[in-house]
């Protein structure tokens, strides 16, 4: 059994490497086919300076040579190269800086979404069709369907401008509170709904009825049997959700001026900062691939009936 799981994980990891390699290759060539270059600005630099810079960063070499050099540096030295725009900084340093904030933001938001979502969802399921259930459902429907830029702007206006309780800038003290709330509301609402429907499903199962008939205490039925089994869909959702929250909080980062990876990603594209584009793409792709893998493995652990192929 364990060796089966191990071989599954190895197989998936190999597949992940192939996926990331495909992402690298496609991004590399597409990126270079887009017009414009990293050393352009409203004011043109002299042709001599342009040539000197291209030579310095190896951009004067044939594209395929650049590609193989890039792959080799990553594999052998884990070297993602220098940023062409933020001169003197390496891609790894810039990404590490951005990830510090993005990861904190994403993980806190995801955990809050999970904690509150599961509690609210279970509560709604247990009080099915009560007024509380209905209120929860209405609110979560609103949160799920409201895009983060509207929610973010709304919270900003209310808590930062009108009430003046919280700063509008993500870099200030307490500045991450509003972005965390904004980011967590939609997945929280989604998890609430997932938990509710799956819990209702589980509560209708025969073994729950049997447990009730045997006189098992209600608390034990809920936490011992129902909750664990109703978390399956939440687990499937949670892994990729975490990856998307960490990597895709761009809009929220923009609204609250949070110094995260999303901004680094977008500015690298508009600025044609080739090594930065590659670096951020690789990190984001790897994160999504790995989170999906973890989520699949957890799935297996929670529900032993599932066979991994």
């Amino acid at each position: 059994m364990n060796s089966k799981l191990a071989s599954y994980i190895i197989k998936r990891l190999l597949l992940a490497v192939v996926t990331v390699w495909v992402v690298i290759t496609v991004t590399f060539f597409v990126m270079h086919s887009v017009p414009g270059g990293p050393f352009m600005g409203e004011k043109a630099i002299s042709e001599a300076a342009q040539k000197a810079l291209e030579a310095k960063y190896g951009l004067d070499k044939p594209l395929f040579v650049q590609y193989t050099t890039y792959l080799k540096d990553i594999v052998t030295k884990f070297d993602f190269g220098p940023s062409l725009k933020q001169r003197g900084r390496t891609v790894v340093a810039v990404i590490a800086d951005g990830m510090k904030t993005s990861a904190k933001l994403g993980v806190i938001a995801a955990l809050i979404a999970l904690a509150i979502g599961v509690v609210l969802g279970s509560f709604a399921a247990l009080r099915r069709n009560s007024i509380v259930d209905r209120i929860i459902m209405v609110i979560t429907t609103a949160f799920v369907s409201m895009p983060s830029f509207i929610m973010g702007s709304f919270l900003l206006i209310l808590f930062s401008i009108k009430l003046g309780w919280l700063p509008a800038n993500g870099a200030s003290r307490g500045g991450l509170i509003l972005p965390v709330i904004t980011l967590s509301l939609s997945p929280m609402a989604y998890i609430t709904r997932l938990t509710r429907s799956s819990m209702l499903d589980v509560l209708g199962q025969d073994y729950i009825r049997t447990a009730k008939a045997k006189g098992v205490p209600r608390v034990r039925i809920i936490f011992g049997h129902a909750l664990k089994n109703s978390l399956l869909p939440v687990i499937t959702y949670f892994g990729p959700m975490l990856a998307y929250i960490v990597t895709g909080s761009l809009v929220v980062e923009q609204i609250f001026a949070v110094p995260g990876i999303g901004r680094a990603f977008v500015t690298s594209i508009t600025g044609r900062d080739y090594p930065m584009i590659m670096g951020t793409t690789i990190i984001l792709a790897s994160l999504i691939v790995i989170m999906n893998l973890i989520s699949d493995i957890l799935y297996k652990i929670v529900d032993p009936r599932i066979t991994l192929e």
Binding site: G41, A55, S160
Partner: protein, 599 residues
Amino acid sequence: MRKKIFAVILTAALAVSCLAGCGKSASNDGSSINVCVGSEPDTIDPALNSAVDGATYLVHLFSGLAKWEQKPDGSLEIVADAATELVDGVENADGTVTYTYTLRDGLKWSDGQPVKASDFVFAWNRAASAELGADYGYMFEVVDGYEEISAVDDDGNPINPDAKLNVSAPDDKTIVVTLYNAVSYWNELLAFPTYFPVREDVVSNEGWATEASTYVCNGPYKIDSWDHQSVIRLVKNPDFVDAKDITMSQINFYLSDDQNNMLTNFKNGDWQLIDDIPTNEMASVKAEYPDEYVVAGNLGTYYVCWNVNEQIMPEGSEFAKDEYAKAEVRRAVGLLFDRNYICDEIGQAGQVPASSFVAMGMTEPDGSQFYENAGTNSYTGYYDVSADAYSENFNQAISVLKKYYDYDEATGKFTNFPTLTYIYNTSEGHKAIGEYLQSALAGVGITMNLENQEWATFLNTRKNGDYSIARNGWLADYNDPICFLDMWTTDSGNNDVQFGRGAHKDGAVYDMDLTPYGYDIKVQGTWSETYDVLISTIKRCTDENTRYKLMHVAEDMLMDTGCITPLYYYTDPYMISKNVDGFFANPLGYKYFMFTKIS
């Protein structure tokens, strides 16, 4: 049950960690100021920086030979900074000019080491070198030796790796620099960040300017901390020679590229100055914060540029190859635009309708405005931009265009004007202006399609001349009209119009006679051949009055082509809290906070 307790504890811990530090972000007791002049800078290495926000950080961190200073009456002047005085040059027999500066006593780097003359020599050679490839390396083009030091071969390698600028440090206090010829804006260059000193052992670490711990400077402030993408905190440098005059102990430069976020931070009182205001909020901000909203001048022009090689004559027209006719058409089309409407209704930030290319704010040797002396008309500039003149301009344009195109009197529209395409880079403001231009031309039957391009693509398209008409803008590097004129020489990297390239290389022949200006120069050649000679003559000219006259001639030539259609002179709108005293900004847009006080 254990799990439940764990879950409760986890939730509580999260909630607490999230709420910790809740409260007002910026308490202000007057010892620090929070401002935002831009997003994370690409670099704050003085040699590599070419951005205005970067220059603002640099003028607080470094002390060059000269600096901008505000006089008690509010006017600005360039004064000596690290140098004891700004000396006059001495002309040598070969026409070059030598300046000898003495450094003040007690100058120190932020790590305590003394500032030496050799640091300037090193910094200048570094900034100008082909090896560094700095955007503003050409700022040293006036210094003897620049041609050698900046030359590279086809592979981008320096041709003369050992070449140096003609600048030396005979001792620790003395800097001797020789220029190719006298340059009227030399003192201004000395105050420019590219000319600030750096120390060799510091910059040998390539990443020195990216972290507070490795950043060594010699100015009024040093970097206390730098949270990338978020804030750069500057604290007063106690070793600075004029530290007693610096009133503000700490400057927090917040880094943001989101105008709405900046405005929110200003409105809730966290930030005392923001350098950018969302265009669509401009009107409401003006009304709501009349005392905080400031519009400063800016040495720049927003304009439309035409690709000189684009065919704008109707099919089969006898004027298809007539350069003069095409120029007349472009000038006429330029008259169809109501610049007052663009400034008042679209820009809404105090922009000034432009009637010339060289921006408002550029001054003549006698102190008068260069743009007011442009052209030879009774009004200011090359066409009349006063509000009453618009209908006359319009009629004049129609009568000119009638000479070349079929006009339907009944509808008041031209029927065979080729379709034009206007490209602009993604921005609400550029789009709004593009739409206005489109509608103005549609009114007379000229179809102009709009094409929006992402920034880097746009620059590439425009530079390569793959367009018919494009949005353009130019901000001066220093207060001298030559900034606006030398960009149109054939080989210039900013020659977006494509003068002297493609078909224009074999264009019409012009006569240029510079004998009235005391030069034995008569040139007969294409537009670019004559223009290139004129610009190089201006660059070598040492007589101020003649030089400015020649620059007017150059602008006349440029405007005659009709390829440049100026729309407005840029302004620099920003918001500053009423509590802040002692703040000033220079015409290049650098903001100075060292002498501020918060009441």
